[in-house]
Symmetry: C2
Subunit: 453 residues, 2 copies
């Protein structure tokens, strides 16, 4: 399998040939949950400073304003809108996660599709097909190179996401297998984004740029712009240049029968998955401790080494840096019971009481500890010791968010941005996307106060 | 040196602080040659199918048409114009080369600068400062990771070029050291482009995208969009993720006293540098053989293994593939005396006589042979054997093109595209760029028939 030389072509053929009727109903249902969760996150992030800066930069260069910047009144050409919506949907680190690869699948794919859906009539059924195919593509390509690719320093949501956006856009545009092969190649040669950028505005730039660049790849291919036809598997292609692992079976085996798109999960907390068990456990401890929270002398976490590798910042200075501090996240969960976006603001990470609390927190790493688990031991001033083990956090595949929880999360983020009335109307419409004739209407309903128009 | 953790910051400070007066006159003179050579190539490539396809794809998304697509009547927003001009300047593989890294320096940098210079008044002096600083930046970053980075499969003109465009644009916009550091970081996290794409339209996409993405990085940084401040040297930054070699002394040592920008060279033939000695030698042999060219039975080349690694296509099917066939290039040089863009058309690679000739050509590789040298042995039907050794090809640093040769190359490419009168006026103006008040006028003079307006 590792020697086959038609991986890109075979994947392209599946992207073209996959029949809507062959996608199982449960995959379609999960795709709606993926879409609703993503839309709420995009609106929730829309007022972030990162989006303000990006908008200021792109405004002078935008083409005709056909597509919405979700949660804002500004409009941009579809490729720039894809960039902005990809940024806003990820900027709070509150979006979805394919746990096998830590890819955040919706950002690159849905951001491209919805922006394009405002420029032409796209049915909900066609939209969901393209979303599923795009998510499947990026997650499978991620599986083929994970973990080596990620360990080397690549932000896989950007590097694999660009393939997802290209695949989904190719499908939406109705490209044939030849053009889709080129689109995957043009996407490959734009694959980029370093984990070094975590904690800065560039982290959310990655899914935004993946959406924009992947969509652009499909438009270029549509215009006859060609590329290598072996961009994924060639000796100097994506998998070999950007990873020491290449398992092409992960890309091609069981296409259309086994679905990675079914494995998406939705974050209950606005930060990296790796500290969700800690936040979950600390919130439970807070509820159990009551007033004793004020008498905590010491907190000891025992976790997998990845927790410190990814989120070991002891003194975060900004809200974005706070997302990479297990110390801050635990302190916020214990002291405020908060793991939502308000836990990761500049104010929060510089709050005196939270700073004092985070300095009581110590982490011991243990490679034998599961990455998805944590043990938390709290010692009070009077010497009492309470221990809590979290095997799998809320939001994991074992304890997934319910539809109602996804909806509450949407409301929590979007109501303040677009108004309660518009938010409620949008929630109702978004769950019904499968039956829509014109998905672009959903994007237009994301403007502040849209329901009054 | 390899341990220093302020490489990106120190480079940014130099980009900001480098004084125009401290740039030696000979560097400025070389920059004018770099600019004139690039401008001719951009016009020469403007009618290529690759540019047609890219234009068709970007047109629906372009912002206000402030900047010229050189050699054409279309106008685009400056970022899209940078993309298109970067493509056209490289599509014929006829542009400039920094021989130590095989970077083609002007494409990413000049394409960004000239497109922006149409949106605001930019003097020739400021333009040349920014061009020199951009070229210096990309070549030094290239030196820091070459050859490992290139050997791994990265197309270094794209991956390093994006830094050059970001540096040059930052300088042109007058960004401070903080914003310039961010611009380099935003550029780093977009660094991309595989050598796998050689022989396809994506090869010239790389310098185009580097120009566009690097310029965009500077505009984002200007708007306050931040990034890692150690994007080049961090453990998960550019040099470590994309190369096994990191020599930061190549970036910082002698900045402002030793100039990589002085080492640019200009191609006499429209293909990769590595087969220039072969073409040079074959043209000389053709001139010496006269009618005996028709009696060639066998041609034996002895060359460095890189020649076959980079240009080993035995049966090219398209003009672009022909640029990666030492067999076709040698055949064209022997049979037609042609190494110019007309040697690398679809017609040429499918010409019966050229196909017959290229099948007489055999290559022996010898690691002891210098990469810049070749030995050619021609055996005629009557058994006579003529040998020619090329130590350094025309166009190399040892045998550089004269100003008159650069001008003739410009005329050769541009006269047919924009008309002889416009071409002559443009040549005169381009050599005088250092004294111009508004460089944008040069771009507007590149439209077909511009001199009649």
């Amino acid at each position: 399998m590792s020697q086959r030389n038609d991986v890109t072509r075979a994947l392209a053929e599946w992207i073209v040939d996959c029949r809507s009727n062959d996608i199982p109903e449960e995959i379609r249902t999960e795709a709606v949950r993926t879409f609703v969760n993503w839309l709420g996150c995009a609106i929730g992030g829309a007022t972030h400073e990162t989006v303000d800066c990006a908008l200021a930069a792109v405004a002078p260069f935008s083409g005709s304003p056909e597509s919405s910047v979700l949660g804002r009144s500004e409009r941009l050409d579809p490729l720039h809108a894809a960039l902005l919506n990809g940024i806003s949907s990820h900027v709070l680190d509150y979006d979805d996660t394919h746990l096998k690869t830590i890819i955040h699948p919706a950002g690159p794919v849905a951001s491209a599709l919805l922006a394009i859906a405002e420029t032409r009539p796209v049915s909900g059924a066609a939209f969901l097909d393209a979303l599923i195919i795009g998510v499947e593509t990026e997650c499978r390509i991620g599986n083929a190179v994970y973990p080596d690719h990620y360990d080397r320093g690549w932000h896989i949501t950007g590097t694999a996401g660009v393939f997802g956006a290209a695949a989904a856009t190719s499908r939406l545009l109705g490209l044939d297998a030849q053009a889709t092969t080129w689109a995957l190649g043009i996407a490959a040669t734009q694959s980029s984004g370093f984990r070094e950028m975590f904690g800065t505005m560039c982290k959310s730039f990655h899914p935004g740029r993946a959406a924009q660049n992947g969509a652009f790849a499909a438009f270029l291919a549509q215009a006859g712009f060609d590329s290598s036809e072996r961009a994924i598997e060639a000796p100097r292609g994506f998998a070999n240049v950007m990873s020491d692992k290449q398992d092409y079976g992960e890309i091609l085996d069981g296409l259309g029968t086994h679905w990675e798109a079914a494995l998406n999960s939705y974050k209950p907390f606005a930060c990296g998955i790796v500290i969700h068990p800690t936040i979950d456990g600390c919130i439970q401890l807070r509820n159990e401790l009551g007033d004793d929270v004020g008498r905590i002398a010491k907190v000891e976490l025992t976790a997998h080494p990845l927790v410190l590798e990814l989120t070991g910042k002891t003194e975060p200075r900004t809200g974005l840096e706070g997302k990479f501090s297990v110390f801050h996240a635990a302190a916020s969960a214990l002291l405020r019971g908060d793991g939502s976006p308000t836990a990761f603001t500049d104010e929060a990470v510089n709050d005196r009481a939270l700073i004092d609390m985070r300095r009581t927190i110590h982490v011991t790493t243990d490679p034998a500890c599961n990455e998805a688990s944590v043990t938390i031991a709290v010692t009070l001033e009077d010497g009492r010791r309470i221990e809590k083990h979290i095997d799998r956090a809320i939001g994991s595949r074992e304890r997934p968010l319910s539809d109602a929880q996804i909806e509450a999360k949407f409301r929590d983020q979007a109501a303040a941005v677009i108004g309660e009335q518009a938010c409620e109307a949008l929630i109702r419409a978004a769950w019904q996307i499968a039956a829509m004739d014109d998905v672009g209407a959903l994007a237009r309903a994301c403007a502040p106060g849209a329901s009054r128009q």
